[in-house]
Subunit: 333 residues, 2 copies
C-alpha cells in the first residue's frame, strides 16, 4: 500500500476497498467490518437519543488525544447529556489527497481504542477523498444512538429557580491545550486536553433522575455558552461564583496572558448538570466518586432573575457573562 | 446577516446561533430546531438500521439536484437497501470560510424539501466552519435510522445460484450528468442526475420478503462494483447480459466518446435487487408500478460459477467485469 492517500482511494473501487480493509477494519474492529452499508442493530425501543457532530480540529494530534478520540468522545458525550447509554457510533472520514496513511491509521486506531475501552461499537462508516487543497488532512463526522432509561428526561424546560449548577471538573483544559499548542507555548505546558467519554459519569446520577433537570457537555463556546443557552431556553437567570469555578492554575495564568476567559474555553470531558437544590450535595458526591468527576463542584444556581448569566467575581462584584460574539477559538473541535 | 460565511460563524457563540437560526431552522424545519444536541426519538424497537455517508460532490449544484438533496437521498437509500423504513436523518455541515450564505441556504432548503416531501424528519445536525482553503465550499455528512419490518433480512449471505438480478431503472445517469457538466458538454445534454429517495420503491417488495435476498443502491462505483461485491461476499458467480442493461442512448453514446462504461458510473436513484428466480417477474411488476421503477429490468442471474462478474456482450461474447481499480470518477457524491 502506498504511504499517501491518493484520489483513487476515494473512487469506490479496489483501492477504496483496500484502504478500508487495511486501515479501518483493523482499527475499528469487527462490527465496523460486518456493516453492509447500513448496520443492523437490535434495539429495545422506547426513548432513543440520536446525534451527530463533525470534527475539524487543527492540529490533528494534541496532548491528551487526537481527532479520532475526540470524534468518538464528542458524540458519546452528546448522547450522555441526553441521559442515554450509547449503543452504537458511526464514523465518516473526509480525507485530503496526499495525507499520510500512517497518520490516518493512527487516528482511526485511536478512535477504535476508545470504542474498545468503552465497549461502544463503531458499526458504520464512510470514506471520501477530496483533491489536495480541498480539505485539511482529515475531517471526521460521527453520529450515535443511545437508549434513554425509563424516567430520564434531561431538558432545559425542567430548569427551576433554586436549582444548583454543577460542573464535573476543571474548565477550559481542552481549549487551553490547543491554544497553547498553536501559540507555541505547549512545550512549557502541563495541561492536556480533557477529551474523554462521560457516559459512565452521567449514568451515576440515574438514581436521582427526577432531580437532575438538565445536562450538557460544555464543548465549543465553553461553560459560558451552555449557561447562556440554558438561561435563554428556560427563561431563568443564572448566577455563578468565580471563586467556585474549578480552573487549573496554569489555565488561569495562561488565559490572563493570552486574553481568554476560561469560561468560554472548550472542554471535551466536562459535563454541566442542573440539579434540585436539595439533591445537589448527593449528586456532587456521586460525581466525585468517579475518576472523571473528582474535581466536580457546585458553581452557582438558577435564579428567578432576568434570563442572563451573572458572575459574582473574586472581588465580590457582579457582571454579566454574555454570549460570546465573535471569533473565540476556531477549529477547536 | 453578512452574505459570506466567516470564521466566527463556527465559533459556537452568537454568530453560530444566528447562522443556525437563519439558515438551518427555516430550511430544515421544526424537528431540527427542537433537537437539543441529541434528538430524542420514540422507537418501536427490534431490528433497526443505522448508516452514515459523507458527501463531497463537485460541483455543488447539478441538473436534477444538489449536494443537499443528494446527502438526504443517499442516506435514505442506504437505509432502504437494508429493508428499513427511514425514521430520522441527521445532517452535519463542514463549511469553508467565504462561502456564499445564499448558496448554503439553497442547499439546506433543498435537503429540507426532500425531507418534507418524504415526511422523514431531519432531527439533529452540526455546523463547523474551516478557514478558506481548508475545505471546498461545503461538505455534508448525513446519518440515518430506519426500522426494519418483521421478516425482512436483506443480506448478501442469502444470495443463491439461480437468483435473478433486477435493476430499478436506467444506469449511469448521475455519473454521466456530473461528467458531462465537468467536461463542458452539459449544455447539449438532456441527462439529469437520477438523485431521488427509493424507500417507497423498496417497501413495495415487502410482500415478497423471503424471496428478496439482498438489495443495494448502486452509487459510487456503479452497478459493476455492487455486483462484484456480491459475487465476493456470496461466493457465487454473476452473469449479466449487456443487451438487458437499461441505459439511456445519450449515456451510451457519451460513454463511448469519453471512454467510460455505464456499468461503473454512479447512480443516486437506482437499486439493485437479488430475487428468487420464481418471484422475479412478480418483483419486476411491483417495481414497474412505481414512478421510480418504470424502467426496472432483469439484467442477469446468479450462477454456481467462480465468484466473479461475467457480462455477455451485445455480440454474444463473454468477458469479465472486474472490480474497478483506479480513478473512476472522483467527488461524484
Amino acid at each position: 500500500m502506498s504511504d499517501k492517500i491518493r484520489m483513487a482511494h476515494g473512487g469506490g473501487g479496489e483501492m477504496t476497498a483496500r484502504l478500508i480493509e487495511q486501515v479501518f477494519y483493523e482499527a475499528l474492529g469487527g462490527d465496523f467490518k460486518e456493516a453492509n452499508d447500513s448496520a443492523v442493530l437490535e434495539l429495545p425501543g422506547g426513548k432513543t437519543a440520536f446525534t451527530t457532530d463533525s470534527f475539524v480540529i487543527s492540529p490533528l494530534f494534541f496532548p491528551g488525544g487526537d481527532i479520532g478520540k475526540l470524534a468518538f468522545c464528542g458524540t458519546v458525550n452528546d448522547l450522555a447529556a441526553a441521559g442515554a447509554q450509547p449503543v452504537a457510533i458511526s464514523a465518516s472520514f473526509i480525507i485530503e489527497e496526499g495525507m499520510d496513511i500512517a497518520d490516518l491509521k493512527r487516528i482511526a486506531t485511536s478512535l477504535g481504542d476508545v470504542s474498545r475501552e468503552t465497549g461502544i461499537p463503531v458499526v458504520a462508516g464512510d470514506t471520501k477523498v477530496v483533491d489536495k487543497g480541498s480539505a485539511d488532512k482529515v475531517f471526521i463526522t460521527t453520529a450515535g444512538i443511545g437508549i434513554i432509561p425509563e424516567g430520564i428526561d434531561y431538558h432545559p424546560r425542567n430548569i427551576r429557580p433554586g436549582d444548583k449548577i454543577i460542573v464535573s471538573g476543571t474548565i477550559g483544559d481542552h481549549g487551553y491545550c490547543i491554544t497553547a499548542l498553536r501559540e507555541g507555548i505547549a512545550i512549557q505546558s502541563s495541561v492536556t486536553s480533557d477529551c474523554r467519554p462521560l457516559h459512565e459519569l452521567v449514568a451515576l446520577l440515574c438514581p436521582l433522575a427526577g432531580d437532575v433537570h438538565t445536562v450538557r457537555d460544555a464543548t465549543r463556546g465553553g461553560v459560558g455558552t451552555v449557561l447562556n443557552e440554558w438561561a435563554r431556553q428556560s427563561g431563568n437567570g443564572i448566577l455563578i461564583r468565580e471563586t467556585m469555578l474549578p480552573v487549573k492554575d496554569e489555565v488561569k495564568g495562561g488565559c490572563a496572558l493570552l486574553g481568554f476567559e476560561p469560561i468560554y474555553l472548550a472542554n471535551e470531558g466536562k459535563m454541566l448538570f442542573i440539579v434540585s437544590y436539595n439533591k445537589a450535595e448527593e449528586a456532587l458526591a456521586l460525581l466525585q466518586s468517579h475518576s472523571a468527576g473528582v474535581d466536580a463542584a457546585v458553581i452557582g444556581e438558577v435564579t428567578a432573575g432576568k434570563p442572563q448569566v451573572i458572575m459574582e467575581t473574586e472581588w465580590g462584584t457582579r457582571r454579566v457573562v454574555p454570549v460570546p460574539r465573535g471569533e473565540i477559538l476556531l477549529r477547536i473541535c
